[in-house]
């Protein structure tokens, strides 16, 4: 298929359609409302449903209901909206139902602002909702990757029977880039018998299921948490994604950065290379599971003197970076979070200050 020019938000909507998602529930919020606008037009064309909930709380439970019924389902929102959905996300994780959540982050806390931010790293990777659960979190750095990750999110959600999140800053949703769509996702979940409460015709057996997150028996609750834990351990083994940039050189500084921020870092790295300064970048593409071993290995390369986490936040991922580096190198941090994305020159000045 030929390339088209799309906004990240539109492309995420189209990717959901191509992944066979026929259920999209959402509540508008800047900077991701274009997903709803796009799918309001597109869903009827594929006999799908877009329903605007009365709030994000309602949307969260619409997602839970559709997922429990065995349907492919997605919602999109931005930071404050995800906070409202977090209760439902916890319930969906406990009930082990597959669903895709997209957070196109804006500045916070509170209502914050409408400009790009990466301030929801903790919320996405460490909880958000209550209880012992994790979200599998994919972090695209552009429109093409947003498409690929959105489609992949549905298969991962089904593989692990749980909520998967696409975490992009506002620019990922708002910028336009040429994009090519992969072939439509043809697969159907093969494990529907384990959880779905309907769709007997598409299932192997007539096993009756109950969607629930209440386990009053201590052993039952412990077993459910152990089942979740086993899935998170499997994710750590099988789903880690990352990209190295200029890491085949004898770099003296290693940057760890993701999403839009990593693209600014790449420009800075290219510019410093022209001056003879080698800097490497490790970009986590999955934020949970986190590329732990890869960061340790890249940071302990002999030429590497120190590591810096560069984020559009006040310092969140840096805690995971420190954990991975295990004290073998000094770990610095640079971040801005008002909505102005740091310029390549700013990053260069920060890096030169570390040399």
């Amino acid at each position: 298929m030929a390339k088209v020019l799309m906004k990240g938000n539109e492309a995420i909507g189209e990717a959901a359609i191509r992944a066979g998602c026929k259920n999209y529930f959402a509540y508008p919020i800047t900077p991701q409302s274009e997903v709803a606008e796009y799918l309001a037009k597109r869903m009827p064309e594929v006999d799908g449903v877009f329903l605007q909930g009365e709030s994000e709380v309602a949307v969260g439970y619409m997602i839970f209901g559709a997922a429990g019924a065995g349907e492919r389902v997605m919602t999109t929102s931005s930071s404050p909206g995800i906070s409202l959905m977090s209760e439902a996300i916890s319930y969906i994780a406990a009930a082990q139902c597959p669903a895709v959540f997209v957070n196109i982050m804006r500045g916070g806390p509170g209502l914050g602002g409408i400009l790009p931010s990466q301030g929801d790293y903790f919320q996405a990777t460490k909880g958000g909702g209550h209880g012992d659960y994790r979200l599998l979190v994919l972090a695209p750095d552009g429109v093409q990757e947003a498409v690929e990750m959105t489609m992949k999110a549905f298969t991962l959600a089904e593989k692990y029977r749980g909520p998967v999140m696409i975490l992009g800053d506002g620019l990922i949703g708002q910028m336009m880039e040429p994009v090519e769509f992969p072939d439509d996702l043809k697969t159907e979940p093969t494990n529907k018998d384990d959880w779905a409460t309907s769709g007997m015709s598409t299932r192997k057996s007539n096993k009756r299921n109950l969607v629930r997150s209440l386990f009053l028996d201590p052993k039952e609750l412990n077993d459910n948490n152990l089942a979740l834990k086993a899935k998170y351990e499997q994710m750590k083994k099988e789903e880690v994604l990352y990209e190295g940039y200029n890491t085949d050189t004898d770099y003296s500084i290693l940057i760890v950065s993701y999403g839009t921020m990593s693209r600014v870092c790449k420009t800075s790295i290219d510019m410093m290379k022209q001056e003879g300064i080698e800097v490497g970048l490790l970009r986590p593409k999955t934020l949970f599971p986190f590329p732990e071993k890869e960061i340790f290995k890249a940071s302990t390369k002999e030429s590497c003197k120190s590591v810096i986490s560069i984020e559009m936040s006040m310092g969140q991922m840096v805690e995971d970076v420190e954990r991975c580096v295990k004290g073998q190198r000094k770990v610095d941090f640079y971040g801005e979070c008002g909505g102005d994305i740091p310029a390549p020159e700013t990053i260069i000045n920060i890096i030169k200050g570390l040399l």
Binding site: K3, L5, M6, G170, M175, A343, P344
Partner: protein
């Protein structure tokens, strides 16, 4: 062929068709020709990549930029600066109104109807056939009708803005031009001009185009390209 457009020009079109990039480049090109230019950002629907982001560089060129009050610069609120009505009443040689996308983006024009209806206005629909919903003539006509209904105004001309940003090649320009001719034939609307990113121009057979061409120097770039 040079662009000689003057008067009040409203730039509209479907969401993401390239209205703002077209509007600010048109303002810059005409200013270079010695024309007095005013531009207003009427985009009330799009939160990022708006005319207001290039305010400083336009003002440096001597272009009068009308924007909402500075403290609301980053708000996603529908603010219409009172100065816009003033600039329609007393237009400069070229007055550009950069509207928002789709029918929702031009609703603001209906609020200015009293002022606009007394003037001759060029209402230009920007079309990029590589965007969703305008990849065929039918889609372009649907957007045209929706914009006309919502703005209470008639489209008077077409602007071809065929591009895939950095991945644009000559073939896209030729195909986009042929497509625009089809839209023009179907609607009876004149092709006012087409846009071509300046670095592609040496690679093109320019005599294939019988309409004026606006050279584009991209002004709305993501932060990693702002060096």
């Amino acid at each position: 062929m040079n662009i000689d457009i003057k008067g009040i020009v409203v730039i509209c079109g479907n969401y993401g068709s390239g209205k703002t990039e077209t509007a600010v480049n048109l303002a810059a090109a005409r200013k270079k020709d010695g024309v007095d230019v005013k531009i207003a950002d009427l985009d009330l629907v799009n939160p990022y990549f708006r005319t207001r982001e290039v305010r400083v560089s336009l003002e440096k060129m001597g272009i009068d930029v009308v924007l909402p009050n500075k403290k609301y610069m980053h708000a996603d609120l529908p603010i219409l600066a009172p100065a816009v009505a003033g600039m329609i009443q007393k237009p400069s040689e070229l007055t550009i109104l950069d509207a928002g996308g789709d029918d929702a983006g031009v609703t603001v024009l209906a609020a200015l109807y009293d002022h606009l209806s007394r003037k001759k206005v060029h209402m230009l629909q920007v079309i990029n056939p590589f965007r969703p919903f305008t990849e065929n003539v039918k889609g372009c006509i649907r957007i045209k009708e929706e914009i006309e209904r919502s703005s209470k105004m008639k489209i008077t001309g077409l602007v071809g803005n065929a591009n895939l940003i950095d991945e644009t090649i000559p073939d896209h320009i030729y195909k986009g031009y042929d497509f625009l001719k089809d839209v023009s034939k179907e609607t009876g609307l004149k092709i006012e001009f087409i846009t071509i990113v300046s670095h592609l121009i040496p690679q093109l057979e320019m005599d294939r185009f019988t309409c004026p061409v606006l050279k584009i120097n991209r002004k709305l770039n993501p932060p990693w390209k702002r060096v």
